[in-house]
Symmetry: C2
Subunit: 163 residues, 2 copies
Amino acid sequence: MAKIKRICTFLLRLIAFGTTLAAAIVMATSHETTSLFAVSFEAKYTYTPAFKYFVIANAIASVYGFLVLFLPSDSLLWRLVVAMDAVLAMLLTSSISAALAIAQVGKKGNSHAGWLPICGQVSKYCNQVTGALAAGFVGIITYAILLLYAVHTVLNPLLVQKT
Amino acid sequence: MAKIKRICTFLLRLIAFGTTLAAAIVMATSHETTSLFAVSFEAKYTYTPAFKYFVIANAIASVYGFLVLFLPSDSLLWRLVVAMDAVLAMLLTSSISAALAIAQVGKKGNSHAGWLPICGQVSKYCNQVTGALAAGFVGIITYAILLLYAVHTVLNPLLVQKT
């Protein structure tokens, strides 16, 4: 039973590492140049602060995820990992929210502010950003599951003890 | 000692309730109409999905914060409150990130996407949104402190027990 749990946790951490790495790479390589009325128009993730933040947050999460994969199962550092998971879940949530808010404006525009949608002009770039956001979303869900599982296993003995 | 701790927690929860309520109200009442070349131009929080999300998240947090204030200190529900605090901290983080990303575009614009800043036209509206974001930020910091304190008190006996 303990072995199955350990394998499940390892697989979840592998998924978390893979998806955050994929999100960072896909977003970082998103780039498209298009010309409109002989004026060259370039779309790049570095032009949007929210997308830069998304890449940095996912890069940090993937480095952390990679290091945790090699932590021996009897290490005392696992206590710290619960707190770190919580911090990373917050960081990833914040980065994907900011990126989603901007992506929504890029897709739909905001007629009240006079911001036009740009996805019609740079659809390849838009699709790539959407892919990165989807990968980032899977990463967050995985971290949320890991966190809730950790809270469950940490709190449960305490609950039994007190009642 | 236990009494001082309880008073501190109560004060923190009072601050969390007050700031999230203030953030929701200030954002919800933000509104300005200005005319530009005889064309009336209206700025309202409902025109931006991210700001609507911010109001809803802060309203939920303030209702929850209000209810928790009246929870008796020996209630078993306090165990649930730790998990609820974590969920609310995530919700508030996500809402303020999205609102900040949009507010940044409103303030600075994005020249690459052709989105012009609108704060020059509706400065009163902009200032009110900034105020709401500041109040929301204090609310998140308070929830983060409450959460870290709860994790500390829940994990500590376990740490002592195991080593």
